[in-house]
Symmetry: none
Subunit: 251 residues, 2 copies
DNA sequence: AACAGCGTTGCATAATACGCAATAAAGGAG
DNA sequence: CTCCTTTATTGCGTATTATGCAACGCTGTT
């Protein structure tokens, strides 16, 4: 660990808590000499990570941070982070893998790694998935905050896509409970005859679920007898992505 | 200047530009030994400012940055004070509204309320705007104290972003005079073809202009025939924010 | 199987960050 | 107005510490 860098970073964290703090105060916080703190602040000031109040001469966080964290947000997007894992998931399951996102109260497919099988499921990037009968829709819905979930539930139109589509709100509410308990959501020919999908939630650094991943394949290949091995691989992949998004289970 | 801290910070800035970068690459960027970069990354990893991709072993920015920059945003008075008005401005004009700040002789975008139109202007938070041909740059420049203004003017590089960009110092000086007279600054496709922006100054309690707000939209929607209504709404919003910042016109 | 590239680690040295003490400047108390 | 305290800032010598070198283990490729 590099001491001076670490001390500089600690100053940033301290400044994040206090809207303004002086050299002497910070020196006491870090238990180091004033001059050390001064020089640390000085180099961070050069890069606009901290700025000095013109009146009080104390220091506060600077604009440069916005520049950096904007770069983070741009690159922390779920797509970039999940891409390798998604590919790996397709490799190990041989079925198409998808990443979905919840935006404007709807669930969309935002990325896909297609299966190499001649017969495969291929979703359209940008396609909206029904909330009530797709694995990804139900998965996201299950993990929304209760209030939001109820609001969405009230607006659901229970279109029956197949004979297996469940069209009662009560049944869906019950199933969401199961999903939270099991950690995955299932769509066994509810949306499309002959297609079976499984989805698992992605947690972001705040512990929110705004994304999920899923695998989809012909029910001739994915069926109730062998589904556990798919679920396992899916969950591992989802956990991996959550971790890379900054989610830490123990707080 | 403290070398190791500075190098660590430089890594953060580099990572803000590249979505992921390896130890060796960064060592070449900084022209230092790999081991040095590794140890710098290691100490930043401890604080979640960078994270390592589990698949490629390369590094990218980490969520710790969000924690710090949330602290910044929380404490940046201008952002908090102007947020509601900015939102209102977007509602009434239907175009994206921005807040900018003048720090270290440069103009940065620090907040944004995006338009709901499918076609809209979206600036990057933390992005630096050119002084000589952006509405916000010219606006801030126009209201700087004369001495400061001249100093900045001497350092301007008159890059021509479009065919409409004005590249003479004399023309700019003249325009700044107009801006002060009119109370707003205009960028009609000078920075980006097809984009029209208008900016107005924010006064703080000392009567200084360190911020400005602006609206930006496609020149198909904002053009010279209807611009007066935009200017009106913009000025009202700017005055409102100035007032909330403690500015009292009678001194 | 050999190689090339990567991230990682141990080690010795010299660069460099550190604490001390002095300075300057600003604010408050009498 | 003056003294006194407290602040940020700077020079300097020393010893800590960050650094480059070189070797290691690993992965993937040829």
């Amino acid at each position: 660990m590099i001491q001076s860098l670490d001390r500089g970073l600690e100053i940033l964290f301290i400044l994040a808590e206090h809207k303004s703090r002086g050299v002497t105060e910070l020196a006491e916080d870090l238990k180091v000499n004033k001059s050390t703190v001064f020089r640390l602040l000085d180099t961070m000031k050069e890069r606009d990570l901290v700025q000095q109040d013109e009146v009080t001469a104390k220091y506060r966080l600077g604009i440069g941070l916005l520049h950096i964290s904007e770069g983070l947000v741009k690159n922390l997007d779920a797509i970039n982070i999940s891409k390798p894992t998604l590919k790996q998931l397709m490799d190990s399951t041989k079925e198409s893998a998808h990443l979905c996102t919840f935006t404007n109260d709807k669930v969309y497919v935002v990325d896909q790694v297609k299966s190499n099988y001649p017969m495969k499921v291929s979703a359209a990037i940008g396609h909206e998935e029904p909330i009530h009968c797709s694995s990804v829709g139900k998965c996201i819905l299950a993990y929304l905050p209760e209030e939001k979930r109820n609001k969405i539930l009230d607006g659901v139109r229970f279109v029956a896509y197949t004979e297996k589509t469940k069209t009662s709100k009560e049944a869906l509410v019950e199933e969401l409970k199961q999903i939270r308990k099991n950690g995955y959501a299932l769509d066994d020919e509810e949306l499309s005859v002959g297609v079976c999908c499984i989805a698992a939630p992605i947690y972001n650094h705040k512990g929110e679920v705004k994304n999920c991943i899923g695998i989809s394949g012909p029910s001739a290949r994915i069926h109730m007898e062998n589904i556990d091995s798919y679920i396992n691989k899916l969950k591992i992949a989802a956990n991996n992505i959550s971790h890379n998004m900054g989610y830490r289970y123990t707080k």
